[in-house]
Symmetry: C2
Subunit: 139 residues, 2 copies
């Protein structure tokens, strides 16, 4: 990690009233992880606050307006030119209409108990499963 | 969380070659958690990147120059006027000399196995213990 620049990315675990969370599927417009499911989110811009970045990325990728309700956790992973620090935040919808960008071709509201059977993005799959297992047993 | 503004804070788990991590004890110059042990760190300034904030805060509080080596995790907690999102990063020393600011009055290099017997800061004690338990069994 030391040699590469660090980048901050954010993702939203958006949960509805039924306890299901929003997953979106990466389309062929992406270079990697095509066909795999992920939480909406993306890179923060230089100088951009993490919560502003989260709302912007979620709106771009899902059409939804969200507010942050908690912290899911954080992890790091390597990309070719950068080491990414990924901050995952819990959020809920307060406006907007679900509409995907070209980066995704499908969405699903998924109970945490069903995460193990989903093709989750390889790079944070372990984290998503761990979080889902923790949340799924909370009730 | 929705009503209050969000703030980003960062803390460093600084580990030495013997696998011990740096804890510093909060002095009476603080309004809360006096006498409790914590990882160095603090609030990021508006527009300041998280890694810049971490290096600045660690230098201010410990006199040490560190580089980030990994991600320990993240959690949220409430303060009177703000909801804090705390990003905890793993780091190692590459320069500087250990010297505390007036905010702390003692330091210790502590093996993760000894965390349970330390008076850790109340607000993130559970997280620190969980992390230490995970790290302590890695070898």
């Amino acid at each position: 990690m030391p040699q590469k620049p660090l980048g901050l990315a954010v993702k939203a675990v958006i949960v509805d009233d039924a306890g299901r969370s929003l997953l979106i599927r990466r389309s062929r417009a992406n270079r990697n992880f095509v066909g795999q499911w992920e939480w909406p989110g993306g890179k923060s811009d230089p100088g951009e606050a993490f919560d502003v970045a989260l709302k912007r990325e979620v709106l771009e990728e899902s059409g939804l307006q969200v507010e942050i309700t908690g912290v899911a956790g954080a992890l790091g992973y390597e990309m070719p030119a950068v080491h990414v620090v990924l901050l995952c935040l819990e959020a809920r919808v307060f406006g907007g209409n679900l509409r995907l960008s070209e980066e995704h071709d499908e969405f699903a509201w998924v109970p945490f108990g069903e995460y193990p059977r989903m093709a989750l993005v390889d790079n944070i799959r372990a984290f998503m499963l761990e979080y889902a297992a923790r949340e799924g047993t909370k009730k």
